[in-house]
Subunit: 343 residues, 2 copies
């Protein structure tokens, strides 16, 4: 493992100054074309690789952006990550990822860690347990841009990329009502996060506007693991009378509920119509296929990353704060169609 080649070595070899070598390497138009050519060739021949840290130290920019999420093992989060990665890589930025497994402490630690690593910007979705947003204050203070997606907090005047969860839930619930449902369960998660509280609001308003009285007993709040899903499904099975529709906040949970319902001989959608959320791959292989809301993860990731990078490149002075709302839409499949498709 011999020593690394530096620009000094190249400069020596070529009897040039390091300044010229540096400029040549950076494709500064001020250097003679021939010199540049020569430097490039020599660098290549000698096996030179630029020292990223010396450069970062000098320029005080890291060219890396953070991606901090509550969970990595989620198809939705992963499609976002894939979208982000696509954009950041093209733009020459590194992605440093961190996940908090829904723990507030871990999120705080990760935020501090990334901050100390001097990421140029952060893309993040909050953990369910996060109440306090103080850990983003250092970013604010130093002018490091933070972009939120999915789980955001209105208390923070930052850029956020989201969908209209209220509208999506309203649509989903209305669809169930249109199919003849009148006792509709809503299975969702921790309401401190906007995504879930907004969906609940949409569900409530849809019922109300259709003259269906609200029954708080039909709202189940639980975590989104398989075990929790089975437990929730069983709780629904114990309701009397049985609900005839269910709007479930996540496709995987919806799929597990469907499985459980079927084990108990319920027919779907006949006995109970189901609408999920996310349009995960799983939604097309359940039986019947799952009606769901298309939540465009990859597009969200790409949008967030583009926004961040354009902020980073663009003078950094744009303090324009905005909420970007992407389109979502209801995808009707078999699990919710009590009426004939073309009725």
């Amino acid at each position: 493992m011999r020593k690394d080649i530096t620009i000094y070595d190249i400069a020596n070899q070529l009897q040039l100054s390091t300044a010229t070598v540096s400029r040549a390497l950076a494709a500064d138009p001020v250097v003679k074309k021939k010199t540049r050519q020569l430097v490039l060739e020599t660098a290549n021949k000698m096996g030179y690789r630029s020292n990223y840290h010396a450069r970062s130290l000098r320029k005080s920019r890291t060219n890396s952006i953070g991606f901090m999420v509550h969970e990595l093992q989620s198809t939705f989060i992963n499609s976002v990550l894939a979208g982000v990665e696509k954009i950041t890589t093209d733009a020459g930025y590194d992605l440093i990822i961190a996940h908090s497994l829904e723990s507030y402490e871990a999120e705080v630690a990760n935020a501090r860690n990334l901050f100390h690593k001097r990421i140029d910007g952060l893309i993040t979705s909050l953990s369910c347990e996060t109440k306090n947003l103080d850990h983003f204050q250092p970013y604010k203070d130093k002018g490091v841009p933070v972009i939120f997606f999915d789980r955001v907090d209105t208390a923070l005047d930052s850029t956020a990329v989201i969908i209209d969860n209220y509208k999506a839930a309203y649509e989903a619930t209305t669809h169930l009502i249109d199919q003849g449902c009148s006792r509709i369960v809503h299975l969702t998660a921790n309401l401190t996060r906007n995504v879930y509280s907004e969906r609940l609001r949409g569900y409530r308003d849809a019922l109300h506007n259709n003259g269906i009285p609200l029954d708080e007993g039909l709202v189940i709040i639980n975590s989104l693991t398989e075990e929790a899903a089975v437990a929730s499904a069983k709780r629904i099975l114990c309701m009397n009378p049985l609900p005839d529709g269910a709007f479930i906040t996540n496709d995987f949970v919806a799929a597990v509920c469907m499985r459980t319902f079927k084990e108990y001989k319920l027919r779907i959608p006949r006995d109970i119509a189901i609408v999920g959320f996310n349009n995960d791959a799983i939604s097309t292989v359940t039986e019947p296929a799952l009606t769901t809301i298309n939540y465009p993860g990859e597009e969200i990731g790409m949008t967030a990353a583009r926004r961040l990078i354009s902020h980073l490149e663009g003078a950094g002075s744009i303090h324009q704060i905005q909420t970007i709302v992407l389109n979502s839409r209801l995808i009707v499949r078999g699990s919710s169609q009590k009426k004939a498709p073309n009725a």
Copy 2:
């Protein structure tokens, strides 16, 4: 956005030398406890954050490791990533991720990029199109450790974390034979990758050892997208006579095939028994639930990361090359049980 606080500022404030401050910050036992306390407090009060790049430059180590994969939107890869992240974060390393979307060129570019970023080590799974492994040569030359998982190449004398794909496939196929299948399709992907070629070998040997003649027409090689899966399923449906069993190299593809088969009124497992691969979440919500091979992604990720870090911390002189084979096992569910479970 005011200037950053450095150790010089702290040293000034406290009338100490930067050396002492540096040592105090690094918890060097040689500094007086009281001094250390003081430095820590002051640093905190002044809003100091260490400059990661100055440090990396000085120590010529980056404390970051690369994770380069062919695809990010895969439940398997993601469980590996989650496992890796767990270990690396605890050990104080950053994770820089890159994905190549199965393109050889992108893989080469990513490998070079990560190399130039001076990652301390790399964890990777090869793209399907990768034939040539020259892009790992620089890592070899500079002694940067590379650990492969899942899709590995025996030509490279590097550490690899895998399962015994041959054995898993042998077991899966034997299970189908035990269930009375005699015309078993194998649906798999690009054979230049060990995972798939080994599985094919296991499938073949199982047939052979059970006296079932090999019919190359029953081996279908295709990519692993939803469209490809539907196409493969249709190809199987056109076979005459129809196969009575299918060993499919990936749960998602298996689930899509099942769906397609059922659309064509095949009964599973009665008409065709199915075994998938991976034990993805999807395998428990299909109907019937999918028999599959448990491929422990998170454990693989944790193992690879631990191995890499212990190499990195441990003198770096351990040139011990090894292949770590983790256990996998057949999980029998409804999709393959032609015989009564306790027959």
